[in-house]
Symmetry: C2
Subunit: 151 residues, 2 copies
DNA sequence: TTGTTTTTGTTGCATCTGCATCTATATCGC
DNA sequence: GCGATATAGATGCAGATGCAACAAAAACAA
């Protein structure tokens, strides 16, 4: 995104109706939060959030099938397929045969992938905290709970 | 996105740390909410949310410059440029000369654009309410307030 | 078994996006 | 006024996305 604007206190119209108000907030501010963190990673010449997510899932849970990764990350199958293509091309993960299912493959993180995840976390973790800094602990939990209710 | 999954209660890992918990919620559930509403529009053969936003902004505030639209919608300039291209090609908006600034142009909604906005609202408004249905009024306002704090 | 249906994963195509760059106009400093 | 700088908007390009269609392997039905 990277909105090249410096001026304007930005008068975002907030409707009075609670539902619409919540919706506007979700629609406007939600993506902006992700974008802010992603921008940090880009600035540090690191790959985007989803790469981190893949690597972290593999580190936590061990080798996974693409199907499981997709479900896990709530993104579509064909996205995963090409995401893994790119990460494999960068030597961060490997596809290996899947025992007992000739269709599928297990995705493994490579040492280089694990290393990258660690590096990314130093930037990601910090950025995440900064973005959420305006909330105290109680508010953070509230936000998480409210969003979880919607899922 | 369109996640072709039917199974799995989906065991999304929620960290205990409040900040991380909030972040995971924002990252996972936020985009999914938008996607759900967008899917409704797609299903009804209607354009995506951003088209609605442009039309609605123009209806509320009258003709605007692309710059103002971009600021208003919190998206980048070059995105607006091409977004307006497409909408103009569909006859929903028009670019006209901008008095007192030879660089810029005023974007006007056409009657056909205004009509489309109304049509979209019948689907959009309903979808929005359904997606936010799990929250009562107080919670909706809370969510809006928390997100606003982060903006 | 054999034929039908699901599921997993890939891919062609058109579209969309970000980045960097470019042009034209406006604004500022002097 | 004049030159330097900033702003509005467009665009070439490479890469990413969604959709629909596909192949291959399982699972199921009879």
């Amino acid at each position: 995104m990277q909105m090249q604007q410096k001026q304007a206190p930005k008068t975002l119209v907030l409707p009075k109706d609670p539902v619409q108000r919540a919706w506007v907030a979700v629609q406007r501010f939600g993506p902006a939060l992700l974008e802010r963190v992603d921008a940090r990673l880009r600035l540090a010449d690191l790959p985007a959030l989803e790469w981190y997510d893949v690597l972290w899932a593999l580190e936590r849970e061990g080798p996974l099938r693409q199907r499981d990764l997709a479900d896990h990350m709530l993104i579509a199958r064909y996205s995963i397929s090409r995401l893994i293509d790119r990460m494999e091309a960068d030597g961060l993960v490997e596809r290996r045969e899947c025992p007992h299912d000739g269709r599928g493959q297990m995705v493994h993180a490579t040492p280089s992938g694990l290393k990258l995840r660690k590096t990314m976390w130093t930037v990601y973790g910090k950025a995440m905290r900064e973005v959420l800094a305006p909330l105290n602990e109680k508010e953070a939990l509230q936000l998480a709970a409210l969003l979880a209710k919607l899922a």
